[in-house]
């Protein structure tokens, strides 16, 4: 029983961290730029396909990370230029445009790879023993990387002025340009960073899930709710949102049933959206 509790505890942490990684790209694009990128899941999907291609070519798996970042960043560049900028980064306009974009990306990937499932092999096999309980090594590695990424992001975001400049730009673009922020470039680079993050997240989860053109759709809903519950534009919010949505669902799923856990997650999201519409740790 204790062994089960221990494993379930690890599962809760794992689900929270993995969700945080999946949300990260959206946290940048939506949390900082207010672009409701509903095609976020498709960027994760493309990252996963990049991992598949790299693995199939017999190249080391780590190479998939720059590959996915490059591919998704490049697509992000085109999307920013042709879709997001012409719509002036308006939240609801971009929501509509990226809905179309998501459909387009899914179909393009289907055109290139077909509709079937692709399987990406686990790059780190086997299990590690933690306090006498074994846990899959790749998942542990993912957790470590996720924790590291979040921690360094937290520190960087507090220290570097970029975060404040992005906030300044989004809040008051005219003044931002006046104080010397090259707003067009900053917005573009931020957007590309977000899509590249999504691609890298895709590489990280590819060995865990079925890789297929529609896989992105399963990520997007939880990502949105995690972001909104946690509060947009802060690392603490990202972490809190992922913990509540991912962790809580995991706990309830183990304790009650997966379906009730899912419905409970939705109801809790509603409660937060209603009572704390700006989230737990909102951007000041």
């Amino acid at each position: 029983m204790e062994a089960l509790l221990f494993t379930q505890g690890l599962n809760v942490i794992y689900e929270a961290l993995i969700l945080a990684i999946l949300v990260l790209g959206l946290a940048v694009v939506m949390g900082l730029l207010n672009v409701l990128n509903i095609a976020h899941g498709e960027f994760i999907m493309i990252g996963a396909y990049a991992a598949y291609v790299v693995q199939r070519a017999g190249l080391p798996y780590l190479l998939a990370i720059p590959a996915a970042a490059l591919v998704c960043g490049a697509i992000g560049l085109v999307v920013e230029r042709c879709l997001i900028r012409p719509l002036h980064y308006e939240p609801f306009e971009t929501l509509l445009a990226t809905w179309g974009l998501g459909l387009l990306l899914r179909k393009c990937v289907e055109l290139a790879f077909g509709r079937g499932y692709r399987s990406v092999e686990i790059p780190i096999r086997g299990s590690l023993s933690l306090f006498g309980e074994s846990y899959p090594a790749y998942r542990l590695a993912l957790m470590a990387v996720a924790a590291l990424v979040l921690a360094s992001l937290f520190i960087w975001y507090r220290r570097a002025p970029t975060g404040a400049r992005i906030r300044a730009m989004v809040g008051n673009p005219v003044l931002a340009e006046a104080v010397g922020i090259r707003t067009r470039e900053l917005a573009r680079n931020t957007f590309i960073t977000g899509t590249a993050f999504a691609g890298v997240a895709g590489v990280m989860v590819a060995p865990l899930t079925p890789v297929e053109p529609f896989m992105g759709l399963t990520f997007i809903v939880n990502s949105f709710f995690a972001l909104v519950v946690g509060g947009m534009g802060t690392v603490a919010g990202l972490f809190a949102g992922a913990t509540i949505i991912g962790g809580l669902q995991s706990v309830l799923s183990a304790a009650v049933s997966p379906t009730s856990a899912y419905i409970a997650m939705l109801l809790i999201s509603i409660l937060f959206l209603w009572q704390r519409p700006r989230g737990l740790f909102p951007r000041p």
């Binding site: 509709r115 846990y135 079925p210 399963t218």
Partner: protein, 393 residues
């Protein structure tokens, strides 16, 4: 100013006319079919969650039509397929069925799609023409003039479960499924068989459909509960996801898994690392070592070359539908509902997976238990002519 408005309005009228033409055109442009051709509407998954079966479904249906036509067609008429997408919502597919009946004047409809869509189609077909439904499903439907070729839970479980118990040398079961009718019905029936075997169900977990499911929790519980067999009624991506997680947690060496809907495409997604001790119980596998199947696959390869889409039980059923329709009409000499229904009962027909018999509008057929080896299935046992235990009249 007035001229510019007039121009715009004229453009508008022209645009509207063009649009009307484009919509109205198909009826005119579509190549005129031979006057006596027998048109059959075939509903396949071109879009939606099942779209990965679409190409294989089309191929199987086309081969079915070609085979029947080579033998003289149905009622002496050449068969002509009109495909429609069954991957959309029930309302949308029902609308396609209406169109097939009213505009295209099809005389039969074959379909491979989920049960919600089937009920939508049944509502508009209303038994006016034969409707042959081919995939695996939960049973318990007796709508008139509808014929079911797919495996029902009784067929998948009745003979298979004792064999699994024998293989696992244990009778404890853990049930994992998606939270919807097919999985719940299958598991309810499974519980009856397990009880008959003197086995126990240690727990059952149901995961929501269409939600971002993760299976670490259930796998941890399985690890702790140590059942002999995990019976799975998961579909699509969740099936892949669960089995990969299961293997990642090192459970595949000790615990057997039996899936009620594991076909070739899903197995590719699960991958070779996660398929050890994984079993599947179905009425057809593409690698079946039967002369009928060799011929079937051979024909497909001849027709579509190396790019022939991967066949599985979901798609191959549409081939069976043509064989079945031909066998019935040879007897009935008519497509009229009464004649067709009367002739269908008891009709026997030969398919790539062996001989099948239509009884009470459901199909008794061979059931195969296969073990996964890498991303291939190896049949380890064959149960001949397993009855459906359905009792439609």
């Amino acid at each position: 100013m007035p001229t510019s408005i007039k121009m715009t309005r004229r453009d508008l009228v022209r645009a509207a006319g063009a649009a009307a033409l484009a919509i109205g055109a198909p009826a005119i442009i579509r190549p005129a079919l031979a006057a006596d051709a027998l048109k059959i509407g075939v509903l396949v998954a071109d879009s939606g969650p099942a779209a990965l079966f679409g190409p294989a479904q089309r191929a199987a249906a086309e081969l079915g039509a070609a085979t029947i036509n080579a033998k003289g067609g149905i009622l002496g008429r050449q068969v002509e397929i009109i495909f429609a997408d069954a991957g959309a919502s029930p309302a949308e597919v029902a609308k396609s069925a209406v169109k097939l009946m009213l505009s295209d004047k099809v005389e039969m409809i074959f379909g491979s799609h989920d049960s919600a869509v089937r009920q939508g189609v049944e509502n508009v077909v209303k038994g006016k023409i034969p409707y042959i439904y081919t995939p695996v499903f939960e049973g318990d439907d007796c709508s008139s003039n509808v014929y079911f070729l797919g495996e029902v839970p009784e067929q998948e479980l009745q003979k298979t479960l004792p064999k699994m118990v024998e293989l696992a040398k244990g009778k404890t079961f853990y049930l994992v499924g998606n939270d919807y009718v097919w999985a719940r019905t299958t598991n309810d029936k499974a519980k009856k068989y397990i009880a008959d075997l003197g086995g126990t169900v240690v727990a059952e977990d149901y995961y929501p459909l269409g939600a971002p499911n993760k299976f670490e929790n259930t796998v941890a519980k399985i690890k702790s509960a140590k059942p002999a067999i995990v019976l799975q009624t998961l579909v699509g991506g969740d099936n892949v996801n669960f089995n990969r997680t299961f293997a990642d947690f090192n459970l595949s060496d000790d615990i057997l898994r039996l899936s009620c809907l594991l076909e070739e495409n899903t197995l590719i997604g699960i991958g070779k690392d996660a398929s050890k001790n994984l079993y599947s119980s179905l009425g057809y596998f593409a690698d079946l070592d039967l002369p009928e199947n060799k011929a079937f696959i051979g024909e497909l390869t001849k027709k579509y070359g190396d790019k022939a889409p991967q066949q599985c039980t979901i798609s191959k059923g549409l081939y069976d539908a043509f064989v079945f329709a031909a066998a019935v009409t040879t007897k009935s000499k008519s497509l009229a509902a009464k004649d067709f229904a009367a002739a269908a009962d008891g009709v026997q027909f030969e398919t790539p997976s062996g001989s099948m018999t239509m009884m009470h509008r459901h199909t008794a057929k061979n059931i195969f238990l296969a073990r996964c080896e890498g991303t291939k299935f190896t049949v380890i046992d064959t149960f001949a002519a397993v009855p459906t235990q359905q009792s439609c009249t």
